[in-house]
């Protein structure tokens, strides 16, 4: 028995197929037993642990490529496991255990919990598939499949006002279109779609367009600017469990996975080239602009959503440098960010569960009633703000290092981001957990979060610290073999100057926060003086009206386009509904007049026809 199981487990192909197919089956089962919360929780734990087991076994295996023996017009259904993919698979699987546990507890008593879990599990299958795909077409299939379940999960909470879902569908659809185009161009110019066969295409000519399209598609999945604007909208509309799972974790993993793949493997992407600089600019802009928006939010979920965008900027900046330290920093930051950002979203979800709101204006001083949650929050805050000793600090230092090596302007941008991140978390943390206790009226007496939600949070918090002080594990043991980068970046940052500057920035943030809260009277309004600063005021106004949201530009352009379409449609409609039927009818009636029932006419016609044939013979 044990022998048979271990034999089966050692077949990589079995595991690979199971990881794609089984989640969907589990999803269906979960959907069917939506009546029993206990059964659901048990199943979620079992299935996600099984998935983790598979992923870890695959992680321990050698690289292999597997072709499903089906061929359609030269299209190969090929999957591949290599060190990089299997690391991501294992990381996803591990995160998924916590996320799914949190989700099932968080969604208890919601009418849509069964359906949501179904979508979640199908998404897991899609993500696994996308991470294991070797052929770019297969990758695209799973990538697009994820869009469907994403749409479902966004729609599920409020079907009557599917604004976030529509926005996500439009923007992600556009990004996926770019991805499709990029993949098409790359496959055409490389002559093959298998990633294992594409090596270091030079960035020139056709390849550039293909590269840019794939990169944008990949980063858009992570929520990079300008494909970000549906995430804050989702923070308003979607279930918080969705924010934990997707903007918080899975989309970052998937987006950074593909971006790293193409930057490090498929194309020759070197430090200092125009493409690298463009990517770094994109990253820096994303950091600064998103965090600036986060700073002024008064709702916890929305604030976190903007941070989710902003943090992606660090990864893009790091990978965009093209330097080993930057790529390592970007990947490490992705892992750290997934850990603390999903943790933060989990906290938002638990607070919403206990008090019914995440509006910071109505919530104050929860720390005493929810001590464990507050402690977790503290750890996550220190991590995201880059406080020395926590995981975010180490990965940010690596990115800073790479940015400074490229150009000081990127470094300043990244520092500015760090400054504002610290500022917004000081504001949120102080007003949420400290000070006088205040909750919305009619809330039942506040209690600590349920164990089912508290456990994932605490585990994540522990990991924040492990990945911080014990950063040899993620950097040297996990990422170095996966990326093939030889140099070691573990341990404390080598440059003391950078650490000092970072600390100075944090101190500056604290001072500014104290100044702000004194000026405007409460910690919540600590950032208001920036909001109302002379020039920034107008920019913020414009952003809040949606003038800088590419989605709105897109929609306006669509409006014009659809007006034109209406006119064209009318014309076509006229041709179909009026012109063609009338012509046909008249022609038919004219012919009808020829056969009027008079025999002599019939005879004339027949003889005339005979003469016509004679004419034809004579002519030929």
């Amino acid at each position: 028995m044990f022998h048979a199981v271990s034999e089966w487990l050692s077949g990589g192909v079995n595991l690979l197929l199971c990881m794609v197919v089984l989640p969907a089956l589990f999803g269906v089962v979960l959907w069917m037993c939506k009546k029993s919360h206990f059964l659901q929780t048990l199943l979620v734990l079992l299935s996600s642990l099984l998935n983790t087991l598979f992923a870890f076994v695959l992680y321990g295996m050698d690289d292999f490529v597997f072709n499903i023996p089906l061929t359609t017009f030269g299209f190969a259904y090929s999957f591949r496991i290599d060190a990089f993919a299997s690391l991501f698979l294992a990381f996803t699987a591990g995160m998924f255990v916590l996320i799914s546990l949190y989700t099932v507890v968080n969604l208890k008593k919601q009418s849509y919990n069964g359906l949501y879990l179904l979508y979640l599990y199908i998404s897991l299958g899609m993500i696994n598939g996308a991470l294991m795909a070797d052929h770019l077409g297969i990758l695209l299939f799973f990538w697009e499949g994820l869009l469907c379940t994403l749409f479902g999960m966004l729609l599920i909470g409020n079907r009557d006002h599917p604004k976030a879902a529509m926005k996500a569908l439009t923007i992600s659809g556009l990004a996926d279109l770019l991805l499709m185009l990029g993949i098409l161009l790359t496959v055409l110019s490389a002559g093959t779609g298998n990633m294992s066969e594409i090596h270091a295409l030079s960035l020139s000519g056709n390849h550039i367009v293909g590269f840019v399209c794939i990169l944008l598609g990949a980063l858009a999945k992570g929520g990079c600017m300008p494909f970000h604007s549906w995430i804050p909208q989702a923070a308003e509309d979607a279930p918080t469990a969705f924010l934990v799972g997707f903007p918080g974790a899975m989309e970052k993993i998937l987006g950074i996975y593909l971006a790293t793949r193409i930057v490090t493997e498929l194309f020759v992407f070197e430090h200092g080239t125009a493409m690298s600089i463009a990517m770094m600019i994109l990253g820096t802009l994303t950091i600064v602009l998103a965090v600036a928006m986060a700073l002024i939010q008064k709702d916890m979920k929305k604030l976190l959503a903007y941070h989710a965008i902003s943090q992606l900027g660090y990864m893009v900046l790091g990978i965009g440098t093209g330097l080993p330290v930057g790529i390592m920093g970007g990947l490490f930051h992705m892992m750290n960010n997934v850990i603390y950002k999903s943790g933060l979203f989990m906290i938002a979800g638990s607070i919403e569960k206990q008090t019914g709101t995440t509006d910071l204006k109505q919530l104050k001083g929860l720390g005493k009633k929810m001590p464990v949650t507050a402690a977790c929050f503290l750890v996550f805050t220190f991590s995201i703000a880059g406080f020395p000793g926590f995981n975010g600090f180490f990965s940010k230092e690596l990115v800073f290092d790479a940015a400074l090596e490229s150009h000081v302007i990127f470094y300043i941008g990244a520092l500015l981001g760090a400054f504002m991140t610290a500022l917004s978390f000081l504001k949120m943390g102080r007003s949420l957990f400290f000070g006088a206790y205040q909750v919305p009226e009619g809330t039942p007496p506040l209690r600590e979060t349920k164990a089912g939600m508290l456990i994932p949070m605490s585990i994540l918090a522990v990991f924040c610290m492990i990945f911080g002080l014990g950063n040899t594990l993620p950097l040297d043991t996990l990422l170095a073999p996966a990326t093939g980068i030889q140099a070691s970046f573990s341990g404390w940052p080598h440059s003391v100057l950078l650490v000092v500057i970072s600390l100075f920035v944090l101190l500056l943030a604290l001072l500014d926060h104290l100044y702000g809260s004194k000026k405007d009277g409460s910690p919540l309004h600590a950032a208001d003086h920036i909001r109302h600063a002379p020039v920034l005021k107008h920019i913020y106004d414009a952003v809040e009206k949606g003038w800088l949201d590419p989605y709105h530009w897109l929609m306006a352009a669509m409006g014009g386009f659809s007006d034109v379409c209406v006119q064209v449609e009318k014309g076509i409609g006229f041709v179909y509904d009026k012109a063609v039927p009338r012509t046909v009818k008249r022609a038919g009636l004219a012919l009808q007049r020829l056969s009027d029932g008079r025999l002599s006419h019939y005879l004339y016609l027949a003889v005339g026809g005979m003469l016509c044939i004679a004419l034809l013979f004579w002519l030929l």
Binding site: V584, G588, L591, H601, Y602, L605, G608, G609, M610, L620
Partner: protein, 487 residues
């Protein structure tokens, strides 16, 4: 060889024996069981054809020539001949005759014995036409077909049917004049009308007819057969004749007679004079004209049967177009379309009979919403319509596909395009028919209409099943043809 010969001889002897039986026994008795007699003849024809196809294929023969009553002939030339094409035509004759009998059982009240006599004569005429080995015998049998058809239309002596019959006679006589004169000219030119002689003479090797006389004869014969096939602009008799006859007769006329009397003659002509470019051009021109004009005319008819008759004109155009390619694929396509047309056109006429029996009218404007009252009829008409319009996987789709492929490979992509586009018209007039007859609200006077019962219902189901089944299995037919080196 003997068994095959006996089977081949049944094509003429069995209908003849049926005539004898019909007239020997008392009229009263025959009226009771006329359908058994005629149905047996039709079935024997179907099975004999299937047997011939099977045994000829098993022996690897592409043609089987035989005498009938050997002692009558002095020279050594066989009088009859069976080829694969001939056999498919014979099969169609059998099927359509069977359908006609099943409908006649319900629709014909009086003159059942005359119906049997005339039908048998018609079958003898058609069988003879496709089996004979020379042009003059073909002409003789053609007149047998013509005469029996006239009488079949006029048999019930209503004013309309007499009028239709008279028109048919007059126009048809014009055709026979054309054909006879043409044959005379051809005879003057070659000295023989035997297919073998015509085939082996030098005529067919040159791309142009050498003499004025030959051209004239070809023009006349071709025109004559166009009249018989009801191609535009020779079609004007067809709707009148087909509409005014009893539906069981219309099935025969539209389903098979125009194809045997017209299309088969043209097929023989193209086969013998395959080198003459002008024939192909004429066929293509008349074909396109028939397709478009027939469809346009069908689109503005209000009488159910008249519309189907015009649809026949349009479909004949497709067959002519296929023959115009002059290639083997073209012939296969034409024969396939003859077969599928026989199926779906019979179905539609059976639907007409069913509606006429139950609702008492065939004016489409007076009908509506019969979908729920007559589900079987409605369903079978939808299948027949889809087959006509060439929707996969029904039989009509494959034959149309073959026609378009034949045109394409013969280097006529424009004609292929036109043929394809004209399918839209086909869908248009049938959709109009469906909407008027089967969809919408039921008018009050039709509120008590119920589904037809008995033989008509059975034959509707059988035909629909055959159309669907053969359509689904058609790839097997193509594989079979390929394995025999035909395609």
């Amino acid at each position: 060889m003997n068994v095959l010969k006996y089977a081949a001889e049944t094509f003429l002897f069995v209908p003849f024996a049926a005539i004898v039986i019909n007239n020997v026994f008392s009229k009263k008795m025959m009226e009771k069981c006329f359908h058994l007699l005629t149905g047996a003849v039709a079935l024997s024809q179907i099975f004999a054809t299937l047997f011939c196809i099977y045994s000829m294929d098993a022996r690897g023969m592409s043609r089987f020539e035989f005498f009938m009553l050997e002692e009558l002939y002095e020279n050594d030339r066989e009088f009859f001949c069976l080829t694969p094409v001939t056999l498919i035509f014979l099969l169609c004759i059998g099927i359509v005759a069977f359908v006609s009998v099943m409908v006649a059982k319900k629709t014909i009240d009086a003159k059942k014995t005359s119906y049997v006599n005339l039908l048998m004569t018609l079958i003898i005429g058609m069988n003879g036409m496709v089996m004979v080995n020379d042009f003059f015998s073909l002409y003789v049998f053609l007149d047998v077909v013509g005469l029996s058809s006239f009488v079949l239309i006029a048999m019930f002596r209503s004013r309309k049917s007499l009028e239709g019959s008279i028109k048919y006679i007059i126009i048809s006589e014009l055709a026979t004049i054309f054909i006879l004169t043409g044959l005379a000219f051809l005879f003057m030119q070659t000295g023989s009308l035997d297919y073998m002689d015509l085939n082996s003479s030098l005529l067919q090797n040159s791309s142009e007819p050498q003499t004025m006389l030959l051209s004239l004869s070809l023009i006349l014969i071709l025109s004559g057969f166009f009249v018989k096939a009801g191609a535009v602009p020779f079609h004007s008799w067809l709707p009148d004749a087909h509409q005014s006859a009893d539906t069981s007769i219309s099935i025969l006329l539209s389903g098979i007679v125009i194809k045997i009397a017209g299309i088969y003659g043209i097929y023989v002509l193209t086969d013998l004079f395959s080198g003459v470019k002008a024939i192909q051009t004429a066929l293509a021109a008349i074909g396109i004209l028939s397709i478009v004009a027939g469809a346009l005319l069908a689109l503005c008819q209000s009488h159910f049967k008249r519309m189907i008759a015009y649809s026949s004109v349009s479909q004949m155009g497709y067959i002519l177009l296929a023959l115009s390619t002059g290639t083997t694929l073209g012939v296969v396509a034409a024969v396939a379309h003859v077969f599928s047309h026989a199926l779906f056109k019979s179905t539609l006429f059976v639907n007409a009979a069913a509606i006429h029996e139950q609702a008492g009218t065939l004016e489409m404007d007076e009908m509506g919403g019969l979908e729920h009252r007559m589900p079987v009829t409605s369903f079978s008409s939808v299948i027949a319509f889809l087959s006509t319009a060439g929707i996969p996987p029904l039989t009509g789709f494959w034959s149309k596909l073959l026609i378009i492929l034949a045109l394409w490979t013969a280097g006529n992509p424009v004609l292929a395009g036109v043929a394809l586009c004209a399918s839209i018209f086909t869908s248009a007039y049938f959709l109009r028919m469906q909407k008027k007859v089967f969809f919408g609200k039921t008018p009050e006077h039709l509120a008590s209409v119920r589904e037809v019962s008995g033989s008509i219902k059975i034959i509707e189901i059988i035909l629909t099943a055959i159309t669907t089944l053969i359509g689904i299995l058609f790839p097997l037919v193509l594989i079979f043809l390929q394995s025999r080196g035909i395609l």
